[in-house]
């Protein structure tokens, strides 16, 4: 585990200011002021419906907030969409894995590589128009080489989750947001998976933000924890401190 690298100008990698989302009488996000420093490994915990995924959706441009702003390395990205934010170096994986159902595992990664390149050949076959070394490396990283040429629909849930993360990593982002990356992975393997992922992210200097329900995983791999309750961040700090917070213990951990 490496210490967070100090940012050059003191500017957080991602920052929100008064970020609010209200609809139909529900406040999914309540004036959130939040900052993520480069090099951090942030774990986000909270009960279902607390607002964790909604917050991710807003920060990645999928939903427009009712009020407030989002900044990426100092740049206002509030009105940008997922495509532009992805191009600015943010990769994301989803609660329900978002894969390309008609394609193979390898092709999904190749498409990710095309996304990174920003250009797509009309003539060269997909496999030959991307850097296969990067694809192979990624396959090895998430241990999906054996399934490389299978349709994604044939994969078990845990593998689909990993592939989802892998696709995001093909973008070579500086921030990767992972929504429950180990859900669906057998509990014996969760640590192995997180270990591999985190090591890879450290090697590439990628800041990570992941939603996680398993407290052991959080304690072992996160440098910081934010606990969400009813659209607000109720506690934010070192894992030991957040888990010791009585409100968190009652509202979040108690509900397990």
């Amino acid at each position: 585990m490496s210490l967070p690298a100090p940012s050059l100008y003191g500017e957080p990698l991602l920052r929100t200011e008064g970020l609010t989302l209200k609809f139909g009488g529900i406040t999914a996000a309540d004036a959130i002021d939040f900052a993520l420093q480069p090099g951090e490994r942030l774990a986000v915990i909270g009960a279902n419906g607390a607002g964790k995924t909604t917050f991710i959706n807003i920060c990645t441009g999928y939903i427009r907030p009712t009020h407030g702003k989002v900044f990426l390395a100092g740049r206002d990205i509030t009105t940008l969409g997922p495509r532009q934010i992805a191009r600015l170096g943010v990769g994301r994986s989803f609660q329900l894995p978002q894969l390309f159902q008609d394609h193979t595992v390898r092709q999904c990664l190749e498409l990710g590589a095309v996304g990174r390149a920003g250009r797509a050949s009309w003539f060269k076959p997909l496999a030959q128009s991307v850097d296969q070394k990067a694809v192979t490396e990624m396959l090895e990283l998430v241990e999906l080489q054996a399934h490389a040429d299978e349709r994604v629909t044939a994969l078990p849930e845990g593998h689909r989750k990993l592939l989802d993360v892998a696709i995001a990593l093909m973008l070579q982002p500086r921030l990767v947001i992972m929504d429950e990356p180990t859900s669906g992975v057998a509990s014996e393997e969760k640590h192995a998976v997180m270990n591999t992922l985190m090591r890879a992210l450290d090697e590439r200097n990628v800041t990570s933000w992941f939603v996680e329900h398993d407290t052991d995983i959080v304690l072992k791999y996160a440098t910081r924890v934010a606990a969400w309750i009813d659209g607000r961040i109720a506690a934010d700090g070192k894992p030991e401190d957040v888990f010791a917070d009585p409100v968190v213990r009652r509202e979040v951990l108690g509900s397990k």
Partner: protein
């Protein structure tokens, strides 16, 4: 390898077609018609790759055909190849313009908006008869081909060769496009557009590209048919014609480029059978066949064929 067996099939079919057409004069125009329908269906197949169906694409055949007719009448010395190029360009440009608006839509909206725009165009063509010849259409003189003035028979042979060459070229290029990175992005629109956006790809831009290709292909078919007949009518853009193109594309299956021509062949056979035995019921026959295909083999004939071959080999 899949492509190899298809390649052999295509080569054999081409030889057969050309041989028959050269030997039997009255088979030439039907052969050209079959290939043109195949080209148009190929255009629709491109869009179906992205999971979209357009119910108005015949308008590009009309645009291509009328461009050829206008230019042939205005510049009587123009060569057929130049006219063809102009027609295809016109269709592609119109496709580009339309797709800027339409690329925001998917599914039913996409299909029906295309239909609406095509009906507007066709009705305008019908009403502005001083320019377009109205419902009778526009006739034009047989143009030169590569600088040579040809008799009717020779012109038909030359057109046949041209159409065969262009169909084969289109088949090859479109299949390459499908296999390419851009073509795979197009296919990804069908399955997960959100993910595409999240990897930094503009689904709209990819769809626009596919749309322009499809408009150009349908335009090409309209251009070639107009050249061979020396005539273009509003029927070339009629929604029924669009429906036929959709039908052929579905029949052949949208997974491969060659499916469009397979579908066109089956369609041509149905049409000839219907004309011979059920002259007043050919639309219903087509409709009934479409329902049967949609029920039993919605991925088309090519997929059914591949499924059978997979069963055999495994």
């Amino acid at each position: 390898m899949r492509h190899l067996s298809v390649f052999r099939l295509v080569v054999a079919a081409t030889f057969l077609l050309v041989a028959v057409a050269l030997a039997v004069p009255w088979a030439r125009v039907p052969a050209i018609s079959f290939l043109c329908f195949g080209l148009a269906a190929l255009g629709l197949t491109v869009l179906m790759r992205a999971g979209q169906v357009s119910f108005g694409h015949a308008m590009y055949a009309a645009i291509g055909g009328y461009t050829v007719a206008f230019l042939a009448r205005r510049f009587p010395g123009a060569d057929a190849l130049l006219l063809a190029l102009a027609g295809v360009l016109a269709s592609a440009v119109c496709g580009a313009v339309v797709s800027v608006f339409l690329s925001r839509y998917r599914g039913i909206f996409f299909g029906m908006l295309n239909l609406g725009i095509s009906m507007v165009l066709v009705s305008l063509i019908g009403k502005l008869y001083t320019h377009t010849g109205g419902t009778d259409g526009l006739r034009f003189e047989r143009p030169t081909m590569l600088g040579m003035t040809l008799s009717r028979g020779d012109f038909e042979i030359a057109m046949l060769v041209l159409v065969v060459v262009l169909a084969l070229a289109a088949l090859w290029l479109v299949q390459r496009y499908f296999d390419s990175a851009a073509g795979q992005l197009l296919a990804a629109i069908k399955t997960n557009e959100t993910r595409l956006e999240y990897i930094g790809v503009s689904a709209r831009r990819v769809l626009v590209q596919g749309y322009v290709v499809s408009a150009a292909l349908v335009g090409l078919s309209g251009v070639l048919l107009a050249l061979v007949q020396g005539l273009v009518t509003p029927e070339a853009g009629h929604w029924l014609r669009s429906g036929e193109y959709v039908f052929i594309a579905i029949l052949g299956g949208s997974a491969t480029a060659v499916g469009a021509f397979l579908g066109a062949a089956v369609f041509e056979i149905i049409k000839l059978t219907a004309a011979a035995y059920f002259t007043n019921a050919w639309q219903s026959l087509l409709g009934a066949t479409l329902i049967a295909v949609l029920f039993f083999a919605p991925d088309g004939l090519m997929a059914a064929r591949r499924a059978r071959r997979k069963d055999v080999s495994s």
